[in-house]
Subunit: 337 residues, 2 copies
DNA sequence: TTGTACGCGTTATCAA
DNA sequence: TTGATAACGCGTACAA
């Protein structure tokens, strides 16, 4: 690793001049020396030392992507196709802008914050924060923050959120179910916070607008931990006969349920209709193919990164960005009369 | 961000003392001042500036995970469940060891190397390198490198590889197919390099050992790019009737094929048997559930990271680590006579 | 046991 | 147009 100092010595000039050439401060250096330096740089394959640069400039060119893992969910957050596609979108955008991404997965907000300050991260993208996590973060960290899928009212005051019209998406698909003659529709999820709450609200609203009543027992709770999922799935299967359709809060759950139904000889959509939310690979590859709500997950990641980049360059961004959804009708809903 | 200097000033002592306390050099500092400093550190929530530390120590505490994207495959590498689970395993291991992970996705080896040297990355995990990529890397970069699933003979000379007994796994499942009476077995993949070559070799060997001949046309080539995949899948479907079974090089392809067969009214396993490789979520959730070869992808990531960590602490590691596979028999193979 | 002084590689300020 | 020099925050050899 050759340094500027060394280069300057070998070229018999000052580090300033070399540095100026590197940064293309054309006005400050004669075309002649510029050429000489540039050639030399190429020859020795000069690569700047980012630590030194960061120290001198008090910045880092790093954007942190902090994923807060829910302890009760997967052992491996990246198992979820949603998460990985999201990361892909963020990474690509950040890289193209000349920044670097540091991925940090943790269920401990404090740990995330310590990490972010040691590295002097220039900006932060937060995913999976619930309730007041975000506020705690923003008290410590005074640089730009963009959230993904965060719905806490407090959080929204402090930073911009990139989300989805979850409520509308849920409303649309439940409404579609109703238009196909369904009136006994259950909702399946593992919690009632954040995104899941928004989708639950859309579901309830659609029922209400159609004059269908909702009661607590229409909420089918799945427990995703590997040692519990089988049991909770069995419970759900038993209660399935009370309904003509089930709206699952995600494709992953919908497809999981579909498989379980198939194993038990329950035929979809003949015996019961099932719909999901996300439109990911699972929904597309499964047979029968899943009727679901489409969202562009990669775009979500790209948008979040773009928004942060804008803030980094001093631009204002809206407080709330909502990406659209649309219905994807495939083969898991039957018209009933 | 408070600095050591500032702390020393406020406490009326030298930076050395503060630094010594931070690094737990117990012998060098009296219990009294130690306590005083420790309390103060906690109070002001001191966080070291990593850039400065790295500069002073000429290290970075960063481990780079470089994924070489194949331009002809997905638009988004992280779409592949294999890749994302792998990343999860690496990240977790690295984080638990007090290191940080920097993810870098690129199809340009030179770009990866520039990135790695600017950040003065302490060690490197490489995935997706084919042929001589690895050698080019190792010429520039003199710190520990661990490869994942790299089979180039040249590469193996230079650094340790964490792989799988791909050949054996392929041999086992093709052998299973043969034991079920199949003799017309096709191989489906998108290339014949690296891992795919190893699996192809296992497949051919199993055929050979059973006295079944192989010809070029038994290689069914899939083209995974989104604008080509439909066409190539159609071609494959047409040729499917020549075979009683198809061994797909990955679960992703196997499940993709399964869906396509279903759409065309070809019944699996009644009309044709299909097997995959990986045993990922797709294989488990699809119905009929896929008969496949299991590999522990997360363990692969964990092992790669562990191996690198060992090298970082000066230990020797074997040149080649091969993780085992095992057969998972589910519902996509029919016994024929 | 504690303090001083310097080096790490870069950028920035100011003078020449 | 160029060069000397200070500063960024930390670790550490060496002196006290």
């Amino acid at each position: 690793m050759i340094t500027i100092k060394e280069i300057a010595k070998q070229l018999n000039m000052s580090t300033t001049t070399v540095s100026n050439v590197i940064h293309g401060k054309a006005g400050e250096v004669s075309g002649d020396t510029r050429k000489k330096v540039e050639e030399f740089l190429k020859k020795v394959d000069y690569v700047p030392n980012i630590s030194a640069r960061n120290l001198a400039q008090n910045q880092s060119k790093i954007i942190g992507l902090a994923l807060k893992a829910r302890a009760d969910k997967y052992e491996n957050l990246l198992m979820d196709p949603f998460v990985s596609v999201l990361i892909g979108g963020v990474e690509e955008t950040i890289r193209n802008a000349g920044y670097f991404m540091m991925l940090y997965i943790s269920s401990d907000t404090g740990e995330i914050m310590r990490h972010v300050s040691t590295w002097n991260v220039d900006g932060l993208i937060l995913f999976g924060m619930l309730d007041d996590d975000g506020i705690r973060v923003s008290e410590k960290y005074k640089k730009p923050i963009v959230c993904i899928d965060t719905y806490s009212i407090e959080g929204l005051k402090h930073f911009t959120n990139v989300g989805l019209d979850d409520e509308q998406g849920a409303y649309d698909i439940v409404n579609y179910l109703i238009s196909q003659g369904h009136r006994k529709i259950a909702f399946l999820s593992d919690n009632t916070k954040g995104v899941d709450l928004a989708r639950l609200t859309g579901y309830k609203q659609a029922l209400k607008d159609a004059g269908i009543s909702y009661s607590e027992k229409d909420f089918l709770k799945i427990r995703p931990k590997s040692d519990e999922i089988d049991k909770s799935l069995d419970e759900i299967c038993k209660r399935a006969s009370d309904y003509t359709a089930i709206f699952c809060v995600s494709d992953l759950y919908a497809v999981t349920l579909l498989s379980r139904f198939e194993d038990r000889g329950i035929s979809v959509p003949d015996d019961i209709s099932v719909v999901g939310f996300d439109d990911n690979m699972l929904a597309q590859l499964h047979r029968p193919a899943l009727t679901t709500v489409h969202q562009d997950v990669k775009l979500k990641g790209v948008t979040a990164a773009d928004t942060l980049l804008k803030q980094l360059s001093g631009k204002k961004t809206p407080n709330q960005i909502k990406l659209p959804t649309h219905l994807v009708i495939r083969d898991t809903v039957r018209r009933i009369d």
